[in-house]
Symmetry: D2
Subunit: 408 residues, 4 copies
């Protein structure tokens, strides 16, 4: 077990920690510690909400979550010799829950506080809690499924440079200005009030917080990519923008489907990540790298049988034809899968959460056949306790009784 370079105490709030997390990205956040190429170390992380969500049967905490505070990140860590233009090679050696905290949650955010991929269909806050048993998870809120984990950091990346920060601030401000009052919003603009700037304090922190990136979207540095395949055993090559790199991470997911569609979309948990670091000098130019690239893990969960749903880019309510819109096509594929699963007794919310938490594959199958994209959603059939294949007799309602947690 490598030495723990960043500890979190789940009995304290993020604000009470001795070594503070950061919930914004800024080039001047100081390194927590510097490592040599070849070093390995352990990083403990809060769940992305910093403990706002409880293991209980009410979705009130999902409804009321303060999204200006997320995501709580552990780091940044420096690597000796890493300079702008290099690639930081990161081995994600292991990830798991913190001892005594072997559970996770999945939330459907309310339309007026976060929303999600199918928010027009599921506008109310809902929650499911998941018990972690070795490599498997089950939920008292969603019977009939058991998944092996594909544990990964939803959020990992290096500190941006000032130039990159300002460029993204510019483009995001322009988009935001097109509809500043939209609910859900088009994006999360800088917001200083609830900013945690790591080991940066005082006036410098206050000034930086006003321009620092929010952590919600993925950007050139990686960040909140929510790629389920960055799992234990994968190797990632991150662009370096500041001296030392400044690697930070958090938002650990026990399992997630492609798209992370419920927004609070994976099985979210606090946990640890074991990291190995190395550097490829000048790697960005050598390999033409702008965004991170990576190799997946040899121990990803592995299935051979799937049931696959198609969707095309026609709006489900209005029948409007969209032009090569993969977003609409994937939404239709997801809605098709929800309807299918409901035939076995699941509520819509349960089915939606299964798609968010199970290791489903979301593919852009055809993207040139004007005007329709064909998106596909593949569900591994082995995660169900019962047979979900179509047959001549029609589906049997295997599921009843339990439902996801609601608000009161």
């Amino acid at each position: 077990m490598p030495r723990t370079a960043f500890e979190v105490d789940l009995k304290k709030t993020p604000e009470q920690q001795t070594v503070k997390t950061h919930n914004r990205w800024h080039p001047d956040i100081p390194m927590v510690e510097n490592f040599k190429p070849g070093d390995t170390f352990r990083v403990e992380c809060y769940d992305w909400t910093g403990g706002q969500i409880g293991n209980n049967d009410s979705a009130n905490d999902i409804r009321d979550v303060d999204l200006t505070k997320v995501h709580y990140l552990s780091g940044p860590f420096g690597v000796e010799g890493a300079e702008p233009g290099d690639l930081l090679v990161v081995d994600i050696l292991d990830i798991g829950p913190l001892p005594g905290s072997e559970w996770g949650f999945n939330g459907i955010f309310a339309r007026d506080n976060g929303g999600g991929f199918l928010t027009e269909h599921f506008p109310e806050a809902r929650k499911s809690c998941w018990d972690l048993n070795g490599i498997y998870t089950t939920s008292r809120h969603i019977p009939g499924v058991r998944y092996p984990g594909i544990v990964h950091p939803g959020l990992i990346g290096c500190l941006p440079s000032r130039e990159l920060m300002e460029e993204a601030n510019r483009r995001e401000a322009e988009l935001f200005a097109t509809d500043p009052d939209r609910v859900p919003p088009l994006l999360a603009p800088p917001y200083a009030e609830t900013a945690l700037m790591g080991q940066m304090t005082g006036g410098a922190a206050e000034a930086a917080a006003k321009e620092a990136w929010r952590t919600v979207p993925p950007r050139e540095h990686g960040g909140n990519c929510d790629i389920k395949n960055l799992s234990r055993g994968s190797k990632v090559y991150f662009p370096v923008y500041v001296k030392g790199g400044g690697l930070s991470m958090g938002d650990i997911h026990w399992s997630q489907g492609d798209g992370e569609i419920t927004f609070c979309g994976a099985i979210e948990m606090a946990g640890y990540i074991d990291i190995g670091v190395d550097v490829i000098k000048g790697g960005m130019a050598k390999y033409g790298v702008i965004n991170p690239i990576f190799r997946p893990s040899p121990v990803e969960p592995h299935f051979s049988d799937y049931l696959i749903f198609e969707g095309i880019s026609v709006d489900e309510h209005t029948g409007e034809q969209y032009y090569l819109d993969a977003h609409v096509a994937y939404r239709r594929a997801c809605l098709n899968a929800v309807e299918y699963l409901k035939k076995f007794g699941y509520t819509g919310e349960q089915a939606y959460m299964i798609l968010g938490t199970a290791p489903v594959e979301g593919r852009i199958s055809g993207i040139v056949d004007i005007p329709n994209v064909c998106a596909t959603l593949a569900i591994p059939t082995e995660v169900f306790d019962f047979d979900i294949h179509p047959n001549a007799d029609g589906p049997t309602r295997h599921v009843s009784g339990a439902d996801v947690a609601k608000t009161s």
Copy 2:
């Protein structure tokens, strides 16, 4: 070998065949033959262009292709007992090239005649030809790669009902009207002049051709889905809209990457498809099915190591931020992969065509992290003759000499 229910003679043009193909979708196209549930039969198909493209070193034919004539489909076939509301269960038992025609082509269509996913980057017509050797393919135009086939019909589905036909015509006309002069066009509206209506003739055929669907997009019935995973050994459940079902197919691909990004995007070929049919009575309502669903094949090519590229929804030219636009994000992932492969000596066109023809996986990894989608493109590293992993020494230019076919 099942009995051949539809023959094509590659020495003749589609217009010269005795039993005509059809290149439009219409509910009244007569069945070529009717089968019983449980039957199997062989269907021969033209390549999607009906033989317009040659196995040579000039892309002039790609530049000059007549896109009003595509796709040439074999069928429709009826199944006894199939009625609207049923699911037609289709086993794709085998697919392969026609004897003596073991080759295929991939084309980058010119921006002003078809275009493609990266048409702003690659606006000129280009072509590569591929030799098929058992399960593998290689190209004299793109050295250094060898793929196993993931052979599939790009286009397969049942005849639409009149209601479905009219509804799609409505929504497509509305979109088309928003920019009727766009190049490339927003979509392909009905066009009677070059229509082939199968066994329908005379005035009925002429009238039907004016309202019949063009074959370009996928729609509710399946159609031109271009899903590489509908490969030999898969099982598909199609919605039935007319009595007998009316299953037609064509546009056979030897291999294709997710998205079929060069538009003429797969390794296109003429070939045969062996089909088994069955019916699930009332299956659309029983399982809530709107679009086809399917199970993949146990003999899909199978890889464990990938190099994966990320893309986000920011325009590569203008730096404009798009809102949750998976199309832009996947384009960026593809462009990132093209730049990477160029470091090994490939031209941009070669790299683009590799992404179109190799069994790459295109995923919607994160689609809720406003405002960016994170799309990923996974390339199986084993398809290259050389090591494409990043390392400290940087890439070696392994590829030189050959290039894709150009216009004259």
Copy 3:
């Protein structure tokens, strides 16, 4: 489709063919044709018995088969530049049935004419016939199972040198002499009477036939390895012992489980093999190669769920303890699987034949834990139409009615 270098006409007996097959191995058998490194060609092959077995419902032909005549091999083929000490690189590009002959058979040989792995338990001749439908096979004699093919030559290799031939003759004669009257015999010694020596004729052929190897066992050159993973898409490196190599092949299997346990143990068929050849000069010494080595195919059937049976090296009848005997342990694992499958309604013979024909994996799991070997047999659960997992309710008898073909 590569040019056919060796044709067989299934309407004729092997003895009636113009270009004769050979059913013995000898260094002096003349090459049928010589190829250059890089060439590809098609080879047609008889089924291993040369057409002695029919697609019918009687096992009389299995009972009465003349085993002195097997296996009928197509070749040998020379490769320019190949010399003793080289490695012949063989790409198995494709394999399939001959048009119009899409069926295969599996036989349990009678104890007194061939026997098999479980011959003490199943001493009578039995047969099952299998229909080939694209990538899948089913049998009227064994309901409830459908396999994808893992098509491969049971027998492939280069001609032995005189030295190698004589050395194997020596060691086999010594073993044979220890129990020359055993039934089944310990091995098949040279036997000139029914020898076919390819293009070798007259006195030379007669003389050679007296010392030529029978084709039954695998030896250093490869030969009758019956490795199911030498399937379409694999690449094999064969030791070269004579100038030109002299590659021959036959005994095509549509599918087989590890061990080929019923002896006539796969789904046996006539068919074609497409071959590519190359040479590694001095490869035997460079890589220390004595027996062939190979890389498997990326399109092997691929499953994620298995039910796995264990066996140890204790005799099932006498309770005798054997010392690290993997043969006994694997037999026990197979017998355990047979008993299990019988609980679902299969007869013992049906279960035995499933193990012989389905792509089961047979592993030497532990071979040092004195005195017991632990062998394991893994059955892919997806090949059954019904659920074979254990559960609290116990097995349901899904199978009834049909049985394998018997003798009359």
Copy 4:
């Protein structure tokens, strides 16, 4: 994290523990604790030697190991309702090293103290030590390889009944009597002196120790099966012979190749196992189960490219022909792989240990082709830092410098 039902303190010897392990199998060993069906619990285990081997650079401890003391097992655990004839359903939910003890060892036992599969070739004691880094392991003694773990209990099973114990004692005594002075011995007969009988004490323990099974071989109850696929996430069905079942386990392996060929053949370590239990009443008769059966894990390490070596049953020294001897054939396949790997610079001992520790697949490919078995050994090529495929240039010596630990 489930409650720990069995603790081991690595600072103490097994003899010093408060709750004792047992190193013999006997029906009367008392349960440590009883659980209900559906319960989960954690079990800590010694490495199989109980701490006799150190993380250092001398193989003296391997040479001098006391094999009468192994294996130290944690348990037995009872399950309410389990009775003879039932199946105990065991979910192996998780396995890992104990915190602070993230290392393992592999040993070649001396020919005169244990031996191993290739003991005639490697008669001297040797050792390699392995560092565990998340899912991967590397060794300072064997450069150039890095494996993902396939962590599993080498030894797990239920207590035997008196009848089963006596029957195995009978058959083993008979075999032992055939050559009682053999080195290495034919098997390990009962030996009371160093027996640990768990919570059994006094005269009862002394009496039982004289008849109790040694733990070396696998038997009907499971035991020391050394099946690498019983890894985290697998589900095993054990025969129950005594009331409560009496499940015990130990001998944790971080990784192992099929056969565990170096005898101390895996990467051996102390660790924990998380277990879930359930019961199928009357399952032995319902399913015809004699030996355990199991389902493998969805998170086993997963590779697509292998280099595969063949072996036949001819003795490598004498040239003697064996009759269908899978043991000899697998030995030849292993020796072929050793010779191959030596061409890249490995010593024979390093190559031997790679085969013992990497997740290689050992298959019985053909077992009916008299007189030769064809065994195959498949090495996943991705575990090497360099390319091990054959090519025209021949192998490069990538490995030099380090070697395995020797005796002094």
